[in-house]
Structure formats: structure tokens, C-alpha cells
């Protein structure tokens, strides 16, 4: 009896903390979305109020959709993000499989080298990257961004996935070899499905910085045709005047695609995070 009450107080406390955290985490998103539906005057008068009949105004969205080619920016962001994600997961998983599965000279050193990128920010190499892109004629192409983001995402992907792949039963892979499966089949059909939660974790951690990045689009691909959504939103932020309606509307719209991608991966992600806990 006392045990039951004890666990109730404990679960109330735990939920209290979690709810508080949720509120803090969601507050900026909430303010952004709410204010994107209000007129400029209402945003400044009562930033926290919900849009009412008087303050409700879609002028932000109207500006965003009129100004520039927002649909194109969306498409660019989507292409870059999904493309980079695909290559990060594919190459990251392949490298991780090689590191975890095969004994070869320099295996440990290679693993260390591949993981080193986690600690060294890729932006330090911006000038060199820009020179390379200019030399290879890739400036103002989405390819440039996909290449850079793939390089940026790989170290973490290799690191996490090789740890997970080490835990995949060696007997299972050996059974496949005896049954005549090729190494590719063993990789794609046996190992990848078993590390799916880890793949989802890597996907989410790779996806969000790429979607939000302003640095490389600004430097490598600022042309109208290749602008990403984050860069596109910057036109509303001027040195002297900022069109807050439009900024907030653009940001609100930009949340939607990541949210969708996140929801796709999140079920797998939660399994990945709790992988050790449930057994």
C-alpha cells in the first residue's frame, strides 16, 4: 500500500519534470507559430496572446508566398537534406560494416580517423571547401551542399553504427555465409534491418543540422535557384527593417517538413534510445 503511494508520488514528480521540460522546449515553437498568424501590431502588443478575431492576419504567409520562389526553396532544402541523409546512411553503414566485420591491418586506426571528424568542425575548412568547389565548378549547385553535408554527417554515423554492428550476432552472419549469401546480401538483408533503430537515430541527428544550416548555403549556393529555405527566409531580415510577419510565417512553414521526417523516424528512434533498457 505504502509502496503504491510512494510510486504514485514518484511518478507525479517525474511527470512534472517532464511536462516542465516539454513546455520550456516547445515555448519558442509555440510563440513562433502563434505569432505567425497575427498582424504586425498584435505581435508587438501582445506577443503571447493567441490570435483573436481582430489580431488574426495571414499577411505573413501572403508575403512569404509572394516573395521569391518559396516553393523552390522548399524543394531545394528537401533535395539537399534527403540526398545528404541517403548518402550519410548508405556510406556510413557500409564503412561501419567494414570496420566491425573484417580484420585488416590498420582497422583500429581507420576507425579512429573516421571518427575524428566528430571533434573537428567542418566549418574550419570553409575556405578550402569553397576553393575546391570553385575549381570543380560546383558553386551554386545543390551537389556542392550534398557533398559537404555528407562529409559532415559521416563521422558520427560511422561511429554509432559500427558500435551497433559489432553487437549483431556473428553466428547469424556466418550462417548466411554458409548458406551462400554474398557479403552484400548479408549487409543489406541481415545486418541493416537489425540496426534499424540505430540508423533512425543517426538519421535524426544528421537531418536537423542540415535542414537548419545557414552557413554553407550562404557561401556555396546563394543563387536564387539553389537557395534553401533557411537562406530564403533571410530576405525578410534586413539591416534596418525586419518583416516579422514574414519571418515567423517562413519559420513556421519550415518546421513542417522536418516534423514529417522526424515522425517517420521517431518510432525507430525511441526503440534505439531504449534499446539497452528493454530486454
Amino acid at each position: 500500500m505504502s509502496q503504491a503511494r510512494h510510486s504514485i508520488t514518484r511518478s507525479i514528480a517525474a511527470h512534472g519534470v517532464l511536462i516542465l521540460w516539454t513546455v520550456i522546449a516547445l515555448f519558442p515553437v509555440f510563440v513562433t507559430v502563434v505569432n505567425s498568424f497575427k498582424s504586425r501590431k498584435a505581435i508587438f502588443a501582445e506577443p503571447l496572446a493567441l490570435p483573436g478575431p481582430e489580431s488574426f492576419d495571414l499577411v505573413g504567409y501572403a508575403t512569404v508566398l509572394k516573395q521569391g520562389d518559396f516553393f523552390q526553396y522548399f524543394l531545394n532544402s528537401m533535395t539537399v537534406t534527403v540526398g545528404s541523409l541517403f548518402f550519410v546512411l548508405l556510406f556510413g553503414a557500409m564503412a561501419a560494416f567494414a570496420l566491425s566485420e573484417y580484420r585488416f591491418r590498420g582497422n583500429g586506426l581507420m576507425g579512429l580517423y573516421l571518427a575524428l571528424g566528430i571533434m573537428i568542425p567542418i566549418r574550419l575548412g570553409t575556405v578550402a571547401i569553397l576553393q575546391m568547389m570553385v575549381a570543380s565548378g560546383l558553386v551554386n549547385t545543390l551537389t556542392a551542399l550534398v557533398l559537404v553535408y555528407t562529409a559532415q554527417g559521416l563521422p558520427l554515423a560511422v561511429f554509432i553504427l559500427s558500435e551497433f554492428m559489432r553487437n549483431v550476432s556473428a553466428d547469424l552472419k556466418n550462417a548466411g555465409r554458409i548458406d551462400g549469401l554474398s557479403e552484400y546480401t548479408i549487409f543489406f538483408r541481415l545486418v541493416l534491418p537489425l540496426v534499424r533503430p540505430a540508423m533512425a537515430t543517426v538519421a535524426v541527428f544528421t537531418l536537423i543540422p542540415i535542414w537548419n544550416d545557414l552557413w554553407f548555403p550562404l557561401i556555396l549556393a546563394p543563387s536564387e535557384a539553389t537557395k534553401t529555405i533557411t537562406l530564403g527566409s533571410q530576405v525578410f531580415i534586413g539591416q534596418f527593417v525586419t518583416n516579422w510577419n514574414a519571418v515567423l510565417a517562413a519559420l513556421s512553414l519550415a518546421i513542417v517538413p522536418v516534423l514529417i521526417l522526424y515522425l517517420i523516424f521517431s518510432r525507430q528512434l525511441i526503440r534505439g534510445i531504449t534499446a539497452g533498457a528493454v530486454k
Binding site: S169, D171, L172, N174, A175, G176, R177, I178, D179, G180, L181, R189, L190, P193, L194
Partner: protein, 263 residues
């Protein structure tokens, strides 16, 4: 059809020598059991026969043909693992049929072969389930079924029963003995269990630290061990060793099996 010969086989991982020159001949249709203390290299030797580990030096041959450089799938062997190692995404039927499918055998033939193996192991009602929906004992039977379906020259078992409870272990052991009789195939079996070794084997190979200590029929090892290691290893409870001098005898050590003592 399935005689195995190992000649001066060695294996090193980096600078550690794990198998140190093993010579062994397993006749066609024989049931051969590897025993030895943990870490002596039983699994490694088995995996070398399967082709899952490279041979550092020496030759592995089946029916006189050297197979050192042959891929595991081409060696006409089948292996049953301690952890079952069933493919989690495939049904029991597909698990059992995968090797044949990879070899390009027609569907109808695969169906016939899996049905036959299922009947031998009474797996028929489970054919459409996935491994996650089976008990441990059923999984091990599927793993054995998967080995049978390929009609290998040589069966390799690495402690196949050690994850099962005592009653099931006895039952599955009898099943393996029956399979051996029915199929007449050569089998190599690694175990820690004395009873399994003594009851199943035609030939027991005692290994210690990567070397063969003695090879022989179970009762020969029991009655006439070559050295004190084999004498102490075979038999449970263990043999008692006395200083022979204490009894006024000339040799070094005297061994007495507990079961031969009477009070």
C-alpha cells in the same frame, strides 16, 4: 562421401597461436566429437573446417580434395550454431530453404526438401512462423532442419544443445543420434557435456591448448588414456590422482576412477 582430413593445420590470430598443428582423419559417416577445456580452440577448429576462418598453414581436405580456399557455401557442409542463428526476417520454411534458393534449386524441389526435413523434426505445424514466435527448443530444431535440407557431406555442430534445458537436451540429443543413423552423414560435434560426448561419439578428439591430446573411441579413452590430462578430462566425477610412490609403486602417478572404488 564426406571423409575429412586435416594435415598439420595451424591458426594464429596476430601473434597468438590458437591451433598448433592438428592432424586428424574423420571417416565417412563417422560421428566425431571434439572435447576440451574452454578456450582450447574447439570452435576455432570447427570454423576453419567450415571456411569461416582462414587456415594459417596446413591443409583441410574433404574426400581427398583440398578445400582451403573454397568459400563456405561451396564446401557442401552445414553448421548448427549454439545461438541458433536463424534469420529473423524469414519464416521457418524460408530459413530452411534459403541455401537451396541461393544455389538456384527449383521451387518445387525446395518445397519437397523442406517438407521432408520438417517431417523428420516434427516442425510441420510451425513452417509459416517466424523465429521470434518459436521456443528455444523449436528454434534449435529449425536450425538443425536448415542443416539437413542442404544434404551436406559434413555436419558441423558447435555446442548445439547448451542453451536448452536438461529434459529438452536429452530429447534433442536422441534426435541428433537418430538423424545421424538415418542420414549416414559425417558429423563433427563440439560439446562440453561428457554424457553427450560418450553417448554420441564413434570417435572423441581431446584437445588442449590447440593440440590434439588423444583420439579414440569413447571407451578406449576412458579405459586407456594416453596421459593424465585425458584421464582427468574424460569421466565424471573426475579421476583421483595419487603419488604412486605412496603405494610403493615405481611409476609417477596413479589414477583411480571414483566409480571403481568400493567401500
Amino acid at each position: 562421401m564426406g571423409a575429412l582430413t586435416l594435415s598439420q593445420v595451424t591458426k594464429s590470430f596476430g601473434s597468438t597461436d590458437v591451433i598448433k598443428g592438428v592432424d586428424l582423419r574423420v571417416e565417412d559417416g563417422e560421428f566425431c566429437v571434439f572435447v576440451g577445456p574452454s578456450g582450447c580452440g574447439k570452435s576455432t577448429l570447427l570454423r576453419m573446417i567450415a571456411g569461416l576462418e582462414d587456415v594459417t598453414s596446413g591443409d583441410v581436405a574433404i574426400d581427398g580434395a583440398r578445400i582451403n580456399d573454397l568459400a563456405p557455401a561451396k564446401r557442401e557442409i552445414a553448421m548448427v550454431f549454439q545461438s541458433y542463428a536463424l534469420y529473423p526476417h524469414l519464416t521457418v520454411r524460408d530459413n530452411m530453404g534459403l541455401a537451396l534458393k541461393q544455389a538456384g534449386v527449383p521451387k518445387a524441389e525446395i518445397q519437397a526438401a523442406t517438407d521432408k526435413a520438417a517431417a523428420m523434426l516434427s516442425l510441420a505445424p510451425l513452417m509459416e512462423r517466424r523465429p521470434a514466435e518459436l521456443s528455444g527448443g523449436q528454434r534449435q530444431r529449425v536450425a538443425i532442419g536448415r542443416a539437413i535440407v542442404r544434404r551436406p557431406k559434413l555436419f558441423l555442430f558447435d555446442e548445439p544443445l547448451s542453451n536448452l534445458d536438461a529434459a529438452l537436451r536429452v530429447q534433442t540429443r536422441i534426435e541428433i543420434a537418430r538423424l545421424h543413423r538415418d542420414l549416414g552423414a559425417t558429423m563433427i560435434y563440439v560439446t562440453h557435456d561428457q554424457v553427450e560426448a560418450m553417448t554420441l561419439a564413434h570417435k572423441i578428439v581431446v584437445l588442449r591448448a590447440g593440440k590434439v591430446e588423444q583420439v579414440g573411441r569413447p571407451m578406449d579413452l576412458y579405459n586407456d588414456p594416453d596421459n593424465t590430462f585425458v584421464a582427468g578430462f574424460i569421466g565424471s566425477p573426475q579421476m583421483n590422482f595419487l603419488k604412486a610412490g605412496a603405494l610403493g609403486l615405481r611409476s609417477d602417478t596413479l589414477g583411480i576412477r571414483p566409480e571403481h572404488l568400493e567401500i
